[in-house]
Amino acid sequence: MSDRYVPVQWNPNKWLYDAVLIACVAAYILIYLNLGNPAADVTRPADGAIVRMRAFGTCAFFMLTAILCIGPLARLDRRFLPLLYNRRHFGVITAVVAVTHSTYVLNWYFAFSPTPRLEALLGANTSYGQLLGFPFEAFGVFALIVLAILAATSHDFWLNFLTPPVWKRLHLMIYPAYAAVVAHVVLGYLQDTKNPAFALVFGAAALSVAGLHLAAHLKDGAARRAKGAWIPVARPQDISDSRARIVKMPDGRRAAVFRDGARIGAVSNACAHQNGPLGEGRVIDGCITCPWHGFQYRLEDGCSPPPFTEKVPTYDLRLQDGVIEIAAEANAPGTPVTPLDVPEASDV
């Protein structure tokens, strides 16, 4: 959180996160080039540029695989949520590795020719009408452009400027990009390799992304939209202290009904920063705290405590026959709503 934009909002956890990422990339590349490659059983070693494009290409693939596993893992087991905290840096580093891969490709396969490199990349193989021999580079170019866009729009400014839903839609392009990377590999390198080791490792990695997404999808289930102007939520004592119940509202949005001791308040479930699920967060020092990046909002008005300026919509609540009911219409972000006072709940 900040009240002003800075290039990167560093904190010790981000330093640690990035240090682990750099260690991963360094270990991968150094081991590939200095231990793995010399151990390959070859008559003469492959060209240095080709070995490097393989090293950086496979590294980018495995990193992207790890990135795509974080989301479903965090949904399946909340202990993985911290990996989501700095996932944008993970993406930026992956984009750099992927660009390095493409640079080796351009400066080797598409160099030494009277045709300029980019023109050669786009025009040397135009067999778009066939699967075997399809210009798989096109899939790589698409994925690289997506990675570049995502890396270039990872700053918090973009979230605020585009709005989190638009930003998220843009960043959902990572799904087609990953499919494109898989296509890029299976129509290219995978067709060539005689040793089955790469196919096995690659297949296992890509299928684990598919498997985790399926598992997370099955776990989440689809909640029904509630109906009516007032929607019953729960009895106050059924919401544990400092936690929330998430309700799917008639308009398809979600609201989070929090209990903080004897006070009960409701806000939009979507955090103002990145639309993280506030209802999966906690109330800490009287503030609802987002489980993704720790943005905080006061229970009574959905505003971040000063000097911060973020706001989320609030909802009116009422108590009907001992059951909390939430108004179907959201209030404007930051509208004060007096929390329900339920002293009996805090005695449970």
């Binding site: 499919a179 898989v182 995978l190």
Partner: protein, 127 residues
């Protein structure tokens, strides 16, 4: 190669327009639409690549914000259904791509005999 040239030319035009948008937006427009940007300059060079890549989106948001047309409730409607569907798309696409590619692979026997269709013509045979 002609279509490659056309594509590259279009890409260059896109980037040049993006650069122009970046200069105007980061130097002038941003201060008028985002209070957090006031007096903060260090982060702006970081935004240049982003503006160049998605400048049509930048222009659209810029005019929405400049006219104070922004629907604040819309900031809290995450595309959860789209995300679920795209996740499911990936669940489907990955096994299909891998299985398809393994079926395509030409790793059958590689010692396929050559078949003689006609013997050599007598006239040109060497003595």
């Amino acid at each position: 190669m002609e279509s490659a040239q056309t594509l590259l030319m279009a890409g260059q035009v896109y980037v040049w327009i993006g650069l122009a948008v970046a200069v105007v937006f980061l130097g002038w427009g941003l201060d008028r639409i985002d209070a957090k940007g006031h007096g903060s300059w260090m982060f702006r060079p970081l935004l240049v690549p982003g503006v160049i890549l998605i400048w049509p989106l930048v222009l659209w948001r810029w005019q929405v914000l400049a006219r104070e047309n922004d629907n604040l409730q819309n900031r809290h409607r995450p595309p959860l259904t789209t995300q679920r569907l795209m996740g499911l798309g990936l669940v489907l696409a990955i096994p299909v791509l891998i299985a398809g590619a393994l079926l395509l692979r030409q790793d059958g026997p590689l010692e396929r005999p050559a078949v003689m269709l006609e013997t050599a013509a007598e006239t040109s045979s060497n003595e």
